[in-house]
């Protein structure tokens, strides 16, 4: 029977071997097995965390999640290791958002206390949402209508018909609106 390579082992076996650390030799092997799990799932975890946290917090969040996974890997038995890992990540990110207590918002906006937030909502970029909303308000009615219609998938022909402007005017309106929004967001969130 061919010797089993660690890269061929299913996640459940790697997790079980990662939890065997009764002596130095076993621990070295456990780290090696955990490293295989890391290789398989690190890219996906990084994207999951990037989609739910500030870029400045990502590195720390990823490290914390992997450490928690190492500390609790003996609790993983069956099912998707990646889903289990994402559960750890989600809980960590929500806890961090709550710990921070408040979400810094753009000037003039009200402060939202993290502890009263829906857990999933705490992972959203409320600052950017608020800022973008305010920047949209600074556009003219026509500019705002064109932007929202184009982003919603309406093509320029239909937009020009709805707004009773010619197509070139629709293109120019979108161009100016884009520039204004970009400048406004640059001022608000850098």
């Amino acid at each position: 029977m061919p010797e089993l390579e660690s890269n061929d082992l299913p996640d459940a076996d790697l997790a079980a071997l990662s939890s065997q650390r009764s002596n130095t030799r076993e621990t070295e092997r456990a780290v090696q097995m955990f490293g295989v799990l890391y290789q398989r799932h690190s890219g996906a975890l990084l994207m999951f965390v990037v989609g739910r946290s500030r870029s400045s917090d990502c590195d720390d969040a990823v490290q914390s999640v992997w450490l928690k996974a190492w500390q609790n890997v003996n609790a993983f038995r069956t099912g998707s290791f990646r889903a289990w890992l994402f559960g750890i990540a989600r809980n960590h990110l929500i806890d961090e958002a709550r710990r921070k207590k408040s979400v810094p918002l753009a000037e003039g906006a009200s402060v939202v206390h993290g502890e009263h937030m829906d857990p999933a909502a705490s992972l959203l970029d409320e600052e950017r949402r608020q800022s973008f909303s305010e920047c949209l308000e600074q556009l003219t009615q026509r500019e705002r209508s064109v932007v929202i219609a184009i982003v919603a998938g309406t093509d320029y022909s239909e937009v020009s018909a709805q707004l009773k402007i010619d197509k070139n005017a629709a293109y120019k309106t979108m161009h100016y609106a884009r520039a204004k929004l970009s400048a406004c967001m640059q001022r608000k969130v850098g």
Binding site: L17, M47, L67
Partner: protein, 294 residues
């Protein structure tokens, strides 16, 4: 400043590729926030499954090209669903998505950096939950089997001889369960039930020598029970067939138990387990085939 929501392609054939790059990119959070500003939620929202519907399997195998333009625009109008979609493809997606994920060069550098830091932080502290070696493991094979079989037969054949306070360590899964030999059913169902109970072997996947040897021994006890029990649900020739097969399988199981006990490293433990897996599948398949022939 880059605003990803304003970069949504107008052309349908570009929308799927663009949205995939967003799901696996670094701007997803920004995209969701901007879209939320443009499409404020009124509390009513579809679930991801309601939007992608029957396209789910195709999407997981082949990417967002499986979705219609309207489905993708629906996701963009309910932007928090993009996070659900991202999680769905990351957890359940096939090789299509894994290859896309592996293709990010800058991500690779970041991942490598994280590992270097993480490896330093992994300390060699023993876990409290690691099972200590069981003293019974030190006995010769025939002593442990004979002793356990004697206890098993005593319990099943003469429960009235035992004090209610006695609690033998008899396995409760597979063929050793209390109702595993319930006889009030047709012969084919009885055999299929035995096959299903045999496959309970796969409910636990031991990876250390002690746990594997113990589990094989438990299965072997169940085999003894089948050999020594009556099976009124079966005709005489089927009972004989079952006993003969069990005796044959018992010899294979004894070999696997010896392999597990003599395993010198994790790889050989897993090899012994794989051999036991094959035997369990073989015997369960044989029972099911016999049931089908009845």
């Amino acid at each position: 400043m880059n605003l990803p929501s304003l970069e949504i392609p107008a052309k349908s054939d570009e929308l799927a590729d663009w949205l995939e790059s967003q799901l696996l990119g670094e701007q997803l959070r920004a995209l969701v926030a901007e879209l939320m500003a443009m499409h404020p939620s009124d509390g009513q929202q579809d679930s991801l499954q309601e939007v992608i519907g029957g396209s789910r399997a195709d999407l997981l195998d082949n990417g967002l090209g499986a979705l219609s333009r309207e489905q993708m625009l629906c996701l963009l109008r309910q932007p928090t669903l993009l996070l659900d979609l991202q999680e769905c493809v990351l957890v359940e997606g096939g090789s299509y998505w894994q290859q896309k994920l592996d293709g990010g060069a800058s991500r690779g550098t970041q991942v490598d950096k994280h590992w270097r830091l993480l490896e330093q932080a992994l300390t060699p502290e023993p876990l409290a939950t690691v099972a200590p070696r069981s003293p019974w493991y030190q006995r010769p094979l025939w002593v442990s089997l004979a002793t356990a079989a004697a206890v098993l037969i005593a319990v099943f054949a003469g429960q009235h001889l035992m004090s209610p306070a006695v609690q033998p360590s008899i396995p409760t899964w597979g063929w050793s369960g209390d109702d595993s030999l319930a006889n009030e059913m047709p012969s084919p169902d009885y055999l299929r039930r035995l096959a299903g109970q045999a496959r309970e072997w796969f409910n636990k996947r031991p990876v250390d020598q002690v746990a594997l040897a113990e589990r094989i021994a438990q299965f072997r006890l169940g085999c003894t029970r089948l050999i020594t029990s009556e099976h009124p649900a079966l005709a005489d020739e089927d009972q004989q067939w079952l006993r003969e097969r069990c005796q044959m399988w018992a010899r294979d199981i004894d070999t696997h138990l010896a392999s597990a006990e003599s395993a010198s490293d994790a790889d050989s433990v897993l090899q012994a387990r794989a051999a036991m897996d094959a035997t369990v599948n073989r015997l369960a398949d044989a029972m099911e085939a016999r049931a089908d022939a009845l």
